[in-house]
C-alpha cells in the first residue's frame, strides 16, 4: 500500500508536468513589464490575458499617478540626482499656502514666522537621511524609497552606495530602513533597523506613533502584557500538541495531547486524563466544576468519535464522568462554542442571522465533577447579524438582555470567540486568518454600560483563552502572553 506521501509526490509531479502546456514565461513577463525584447508568443489563456491587458492599463495609470502626483503616501524609488535641500523656516507675506525650498509653509499672517512642515519631497528626505551619517562624506546613500510619509512621520529605505566600498559589489552599508519624525519642520531620527515595521509583531515603541499616523494597526497602547512561561503549541505531524486552557475560576492549565496530561500552571499539579488509546483526544474547554471537555476522534475511522467530560478535581479526577456519541467534525470546518446548555458545534464558512444558531447541534451538556447533569447556565451570549453588515452581540442573564452593536463587520469563516464576562459584559475576538488575513486581530469588549472598547492586537492572531474575569491569553511571536484588561 502506497503511503500518502508517495501518492502526494506523484500527484504533485503530475500537476507540475501538466501545467507546462500553459506556461509561457516570456509572454507573461512581457505583458507585465512590456516588451523585453524577447519572443512575443501567443498568450496561454485568452480569458486571462484580457484581464492582464486591462491590468496592464491599470498598472500604467498607477505609474503615471506615481510620477505626476506629489502625494505623500505613495511608495517610490528615487535616485539621488536632485541636490538635497533642507526644510527651512520662512517669513511669508500674506498667502494661504506657499511652497518654499523643500517645505510646505502654511499660514497667512504677514511678517511673522509661520510653522514649517518638513517636506515629504524625496530630496529633502534623502538629505535628512544622509545627514545622519556625517562622518561618511559623501553621503553613503544613492537614493531612497519612501514607504510612507504623512502625519509628521516618514518611513524610508535608504539605498546604500556600494561604489565606495573596498571591493566593488561588497556593500559597506546595507540598505537602511529608517524612520524619521518631523520636529519643527526638520526631519529627525526616530528609529532604524531591519525587522521593525508597522506589521504584526514588528513594531517598536518608538515607531508606534508613526504607525498610527500612517494608519497602520498597532497593538493597543492601553494594554500591558505579562509573558507566560508556557510551552509552545509544538504540534507535530503525529498530533502532539500542547493546548492552553483556563478553568472557570481562572486557573491556567496545559494539556498535552500525546500523553493526555493536564498540568495546572499555578502549582504544577497534574492530572492524568484517562482516555482509551484508540482515541485521539483534543481538549475543547473547561466547564463548571473544573470539568474538562474533550473531543475524541478515531485513529482509524472518520465515522466514530464523540466527546467526554473528565473531572480534574475530587475523587474522580482523571475519570470520564459524562460522554456523548455525537460525532464532531474534525476537518477544521467547525467551531465548538460554549452555550448555556453545553458545547455546540457551529459550522464554518459564513453565518445565518445568529451564531450560534439555535439549531446548532449540542455536542455534550454540562456535568458536575461527579457526573451529575447540570441545569443550563444562567448566562450566555451570541451574535446577531443584521443584513446591513453590522453585528450585535447579545448577552442574556438573570437580569435580562444586553446588546452591543459593533462598529465594524465581524464574522468570517468561523464564529468569533465570544464569552460573557463576570461584570455583565462580553469579550469577543475577531480574526479571520483565511478569509481576511490582512485584517489584524481585534478584541472587542462590550461594557456593562453599553459601550464598546476595541483593542487592536496585530501579531496575536491566536487566542487561547478569553476569560470571564476579563483577561486573555494569546499566542504571539515570542510565546504566550496574558493581558488583563484595563
Amino acid at each position: 500500500m502506497a503511503s500518502i506521501d508517495e501518492i502526494a509526490a506523484r500527484a504533485a509531479r503530475d500537476v507540475r508536468a501538466d501545467v507546462r502546456t500553459v506556461i509561457d514565461v516570456d509572454a507573461g513577463l512581457a505583458a507585465i513589464v512590456g516588451d523585453t525584447g524577447r519572443r512575443a508568443s501567443a498568450p496561454p489563456s485568452r480569458r486571462g490575458w484580457w484581464a492582464v491587458g486591462w491590468s496592464l492599463v491599470a498598472a500604467a495609470a498607477l505609474l503615471i499617478t506615481v510620477l505626476v502626483v506629489r502625494d505623500d503616501s505613495v511608495s517610490r524609488v528615487v535616485p539621488a540626482t536632485t541636490p538635497p535641500t533642507q526644510p527651512t523656516a520662512s517669513t511669508q507675506s500674506a498667502s494661504t499656502q506657499s511652497t518654499v525650498t523643500g517645505s510646505t509653509v502654511t499660514g497667512s499672517t504677514a511678517g511673522t514666522v509661520v510653522p514649517v512642515t518638513a517636506s515629504c519631497d524625496e530630496a529633502t528626505l534623502l538629505a535628512a537621511v544622509s545627514a545622519l551619517f556625517p562622518s561618511r562624506p559623501p553621503a553613503p546613500f544613492t537614493g531612497l524609497t519612501i514607504d510612507a510619509c504623512r502625519g509628521g512621520f516618514a518611513q524610508v529605505v535608504a539605498i546604500a552606495d556600494q561604489s565606495t566600498c573596498p571591493t566593488v559589489g561588497q556593500p559597506c552599508y546595507e540598505n537602511q530602513p529608517i524612520w524619521l519624525q518631523d520636529v519643527a519642520g526638520v526631519w529627525t531620527f526616530l528609529d532604524s533597523g531591519t525587522g521593525i515595521s508597522c506589521g504584526a509583531g514588528e513594531t517598536s515603541p518608538k515607531i508606534e506613533p508613526a504607525c498610527a499616523a500612517f494608519g497602520a494597526a498597532v497593538v493597543d497602547p492601553r494594554l500591558s502584557f505579562e509573558p507566560l512561561d508556557l510551552p509552545d503549541p509544538g504540534c507535530s505531524s503525529a498530533g502532539d500538541c500542547t493546548v492552553v486552557l483556563a478553568t472557570e475560576s481562572g486557573r491556567l492549565a496545559t494539556f498535552r495531547t500525546n500523553d493526555h496530561v493536564l498540568t495546572f500552571v499555578d502549582n504544577g499539579a497534574t492530572v492524568d486524563v484517562r482516555v482509551d488509546p484508540q482515541w485521539v483526544a483534543r481538549p475543547l474547554s473547561f466547564g463548571p466544576d473544573d470539568v474538562l471537555y474533550l473531543a475524541l476522534s478515531s485513529r482509524t475511522s472518520a465515522d466514530s468519535g464523540g466527546a467526554i467530560a473528565v473531572a480534574t478535581s475530587g475523587p474522580r479526577a482523571g475519570e470520564t464522568v459524562a460522554s456523548s456519541g455525537v460525532l464532531l467534525d474534525t476537518s477544521g470546518d467547525s467551531t465548538v462554542v460554549a452555550t448555556a446548555d453545553g458545547l455546540v458545534q457551529v459550522g464554518c464558512c459564513g453565518h445565518g442571522e445568529r451564531q450560534p444558531a439555535t439549531s446548532d447541534p449540542l455536542i455534550i451538556g454540562w456535568a458536575s465533577a461527579t457526573g451529575v447533569a447540570l441545569p443550563p447556565a444562567a448566562t450566555e451570549a451570541w451574535i446577531e447579524y443584521a443584513g446591513d453588515g453590522t453585528a450585535t452581540v447579545v448577552r442574556r442573564d438573570v437580569g435580562g438582555e444586553r446588546r452591543w452593536v459593533l462598529d465594524s463587520t465581524i464574522g468570517g469563516r468561523d464564529m468569533p470567540m465570544l464569552v460573557p464576562t463576570d461584570d455583565g459584559g462580553v469579550l469577543l475576538w475577531q480574526y479571520d486568518g483565511i478569509g481576511a488575513p490582512d485584517v489584524p486581530p481585534v478584541l472587542y469588549e462590550g461594557r456593562p454600560d453599553g459601550s464598546v472598547d476595541r483593542y487592536d492586537l496585530p501579531g496575536f492572531n491566536y487566542p487561547s483563552v478569553l476569560h470571564p474575569a476579563r483577561f486573555v491569553v494569546l499566542l504571539g511571536a515570542d510565546g504566550y502572553v496574558r493581558i488583563d484588561l484595563p
Binding site: 500527484a11 507573461g28 530602513p177 507535530s236 472518520a302
Partner: protein, 168 residues
C-alpha cells in the same frame, strides 16, 4: 520579518517572475483544478507583486509574498466557483472544473474538498515543496499550526485514498 537589501528595477522583478511563475501556476492549478485558471491566478499574483515592487522587493523573500497572493487568489477563486455551483441550476460545465492531472487526479479532487487552510498547506507542501517553516511564513501562521493542519489533511486524504498514513 527580517528585511534585507532592496532590489530595484525591472531586472530583479524579471528574475523573480522567471523563477516563480511556473511554480505559482502549478500551485494555483492544484488548488483550483484548472491549468488555465491557475495560469491566470499566477499571472495576477505576479502583476500585483510588480505593482507593489518597491515594497515586495524589500522583503527577504519576495517569493513568499507572491505565494501568499497566489494562495489567496486561488482560495477566492474556489469560493466563487463554489458559490456559482450553488447558484447555478443548469448542469453546465463550470469554468473551473477539474481537467485532470494524470493518474493521481483523484488526489487533487480530494485536496480541493479539504478546508481552505488544509488545501493551501497541502498544495504548498507537495506542489511547491516548501518546508514547514516557509509555509508558516507564507500563510502567516505558526509552524505548529502548519504541522497540525498538515496532519489533519494527510489523515483525511489517507483515509479517503486508502493510503498508509506516515507518522513522522
Amino acid at each position: 520579518m527580517q528585511r534585507g537589501n532592496r532590489a530595484t528595477g525591472t531586472s530583479d522583478f524579471e528574475a523573480v517572475y522567471r523563477r516563480e511563475f511556473p511554480r505559482m501556476v502549478a500551485l494555483a492549478a492544484s488548488m483550483c483544478g484548472s491549468r488555465e485558471v491557475g495560469a491566470e491566478l499566477a499571472q495576477e499574483a505576479l502583476l500585483r507583486a510588480y505593482r507593489e515592487w518597491p515594497k515586495v522587493s524589500a522583503l527577504d523573500r519576495p517569493g513568499a509574498w507572491v505565494r501568499r497572493a497566489t494562495v489567496n487568489l486561488a482560495i477566492d477563486s474556489h469560493r466563487r466557483h463554489a458559490t456559482e455551483q450553488r447558484t447555478l441550476t443548469l448542469a453546465v460545465a463550470a469554468t473551473t472544473a477539474s481537467e485532470g492531472f494524470g493518474v493521481d487526479d483523484r488526489f487533487w479532487v480530494l485536496v480541493r474538498s479539504l478546508p481552505e487552510r488544509q488545501r493551501a498547506v497541502t498544495a504548498l507542501r507537495y506542489v511547491d515543496d516548501l518546508p514547514l517553516e516557509e509555509i508558516a511564513q507564507v500563510l502567516e501562521i505558526s509552524v505548529g499550526t502548519v504541522k497540525s493542519t498538515l496532519f489533519s489533511a494527510r489523515s483525511s486524504l489517507a483515509a479517503s485514498l486508502g493510503a498508509q498514513e506516515v507518522i513522522e
